[in-house]
Amino acid sequence: MKKILQTPIRDEDLESLNVGDVVYLTGHLVTCRDVAHRRLIEQKRELPVDLKGGAIFHAGPIVRKKDDGKFEMVSIGPTTSMRMEKFEREFIKQTGVKLIVGKGGMGPETAAGCQEGKAVHAIFPGGCAVLAATKVEEIERAEWQDLGMPETLWVNRVREFGPLIISIDTKGKNLIEQNKARFNEKKAPVMERIFSQVRFIK
C-alpha cells in the first residue's frame, strides 16, 4: 500500500520512516532553493511562506502563465540538494520544515538537522520533470517573484506527489553516504580483476 504523507506533517508521521522507504505527498509543496535559503539564513529575511510542518522542493521549474492570469506547472524536476547543505540545518531549525525533497544525497550537517528537528530528506527521481508536473494540481501562490522563474517560491498543491525515497531519516541515517561507502568497497576487487586483463603495454 502507498504510504502517503499529508501536510501539515507531524513528528509521529515521520518517526517510523527509515532510509530507503518510499512515500508520497499530498498537500502543499513549496519550491525553495539557493537564494531563498541564503535570504533566510544569511540576510535574516523572513520567508513569505509559513513552512511549519511543511514540505520544500529543491527545484527550479518551467512555469507558464495562462490566459486567466493563473500559473501552470509545465515541468518541475529536482535539482542537486547538496548545494543547500550549507544552510539546511539552520533552515530546518528556523522554519520547522518537515520534508525536504531534492536530488542526490545531502551531508552530515543536514543529517544532524533532521535528527534535531525530526525532519527527513527524500529523493525524487531526477529527470522525471513531466511526471512531477502532472502531480501538481494547482499553483496556489507565487512568492518572491523578483527572484525569477527558477528561484520563485512556488506554492504547489500536490496530490500523491512521488515516489519520494527517504534518504535521510529522523534518526540521522544517510542512505546516499551509506551507498557511496558500499560502492567504494566493491570497486577495489573489481578493478584488480580488470587490471590483469588490460596489460596492453608489454
Binding site: 521549474p61 536530488k103 542526490g104 531526477g126 529527470g127 513531466v130 557511496k180 567504494n184 588490460v198
Partner: protein
C-alpha cells in the same frame, strides 16, 4: 532551390529536430532503459525505472521537454566538403537553437562567462557549441545534436597519465569518476572514454564516444574488450538508477581513441545521463533528410 529558401528550410528542420530530441529519447537509449528495467530485481530500483518510463510517456503525450534541464545545445557536424550550405551552417545552427528555444520551450541555459549574465536565448559566445569534421568528396552532412545538461556534464574529467600507469591507470580513472561524481548525475549513465595523447584530444573523443549508439563496439579488439570489462565491472558495483543501488550501474561504456605520444596517455571521461538526449540526422545535397537516431519521427 534558391539559396535563401534552402537556408530557411534547413534552419526550420534543425530547430524542430533540436526541440524534438528534448522530448523523446533516441531508440537505442529507450531500448536499453527498457532492458535494464526488465533485468532489475531490486524493488526500489524497479520503481525508479517505472517512474522514468511513465515520465517519458507523459512528455511524449503532453509534448513537453522530458527533463526541465534542456542543457547547452551542442552540434557535432560531419559535413561533406561539397555540401552546398557548408559556409552557411554555423549561422543556420545558431538560428535553429533560437527557434528550438521557442518551440520547446527550452530552459535558458547560456550564461556569458565573465559577464555572468544569462543571455535568455540559449545562444552566446561560441554557443551553440559546434564541432566539425569535414568529409572529402561527399555532398551530404550528418549532424548530431546533444543537450548537455548540468547534472550529466558535471562528472566530466580529463588528465594525462604516464605510460607506466598503463591501461590500469585508465581503468582506475574511469571507476573513480563514475563512483564518486557519477552517482549524482542521474544514473544509469552512458560512459564515454577518450584514450589519446593529451587532455583536449581525449576530452573531445570522450564526448564523441557518447554520441555512438549504446550497444556499439569499438572496432579495435583490445578497445572493445576494455569497453566490455569496464561495463561489466561498473555494473558489478551496483550503483543502480539514481545511485540508489541496483543490479546495474551503466547503460554502457564507449571508448574512442587516437594514437598517442610514447610518453603520455591522455584520458578523459564524459557522461550521458539516463535522459541521454541526442539525435542524429543526415541531409543530402537537395536537403532531403533522414533521422537516424529516432524511429518513426515526424518533424
Amino acid at each position: 532551390m534558391d539559396k535563401e529558401v534552402a537556408v530557411q528550410s534547413l534552419t526550420d528542420t534543425m530547430a524542430k529536430f533540436t526541440s524534438y530530441i528534448g522530448k523523446r529519447l533516441p531508440t537505442d537509449v529507450k531500448q536499453k532503459l527498457a532492458d535494464l528495467r526488465t533485468l532489475e530485481t531490486n524493488p526500489l530500483a524497479k520503481s525508479i525505472y517505472d517512474s522514468m518510463a511513465e515520465n517519458q510517456e507523459a512528455a511524449d503525450k503532453l509534448d513537453r521537454p522530458s527533463c526541465q534541464d534542456t542543457g547547452v545545445i551542442q552540434y557535432f557536424i560531419s559535413a561533406g566538403a561539397k555540401f552546398p550550405l557548408l559556409g552557411e551552417l554555423e549561422e543556420i545552427l545558431q538560428n535553429a537553437t533560437l527557434g528550438a528555444t521557442k518551440i520547446g520551450p527550452l530552459r535558458h541555459n547560456a550564461v556569458e562567462t565573465f559577464d555572468e549574465k544569462n543571455t535568455g536565448t540559449n545562444t552566446g559566445s561560441k554557443i551553440p557549441w559546434l564541432d566539425w569534421e569535414i568529409v572529402p568528396d561527399s555532398d551530404c552532412a550528418t549532424i548530431d545534436v546533444y543537450m548537455a545538461g548540468g547534472g550529466c556534464t558535471l562528472p566530466g574529467k580529463a588528465t594525462v597519465l604516464m605510460p607506466g600507469q598503463g591501461y590500469e591507470g585508465v581503468t582506475e580513472f574511469v571507476f573513480d569518476v563514475i563512483t564518486s561524481r557519477g552517482v549524482n548525475a542521474c544514473p544509469p549513465l552512458l560512459v564515454g572514454v577518450g584514450v589519446s595523447t593529451s587532455v583536449e584530444t581525449a576530452a573531445r573523443l570522450s564526448k564523441r564516444a557518447i554520441l555512438r549508439p549504446v550497444n556499439s563496439k569499438n572496432p579495435n579488439a583490445n578497445a572493445a574488450l576494455m569497453e566490455e570489462l569496464l561495463e561489466e565491472g561498473l555494473n558489478e558495483v551496483g550503483i543502480g538508477p539514481q545511485g540508489l543501488t541496483g543490479n546495474n550501474s551503466v547503460m554502457g561504456v564507449n571508448i574512442e581513441s587516437s594514437a598517442r605520444h610514447p610518453s603520455t596517455i591522455g584520458v578523459a571521461v564524459s557522461t550521458g545521463c539516463w535522459a541521454h538526449r541526442r539525435g542524429k540526422i543526415r541531409f543530402n545535397a537537395d536537403l532531403s533528410y533522414e533521422v537516424l537516431s529516432h524511429e518513426g519521427v515526424v518533424l
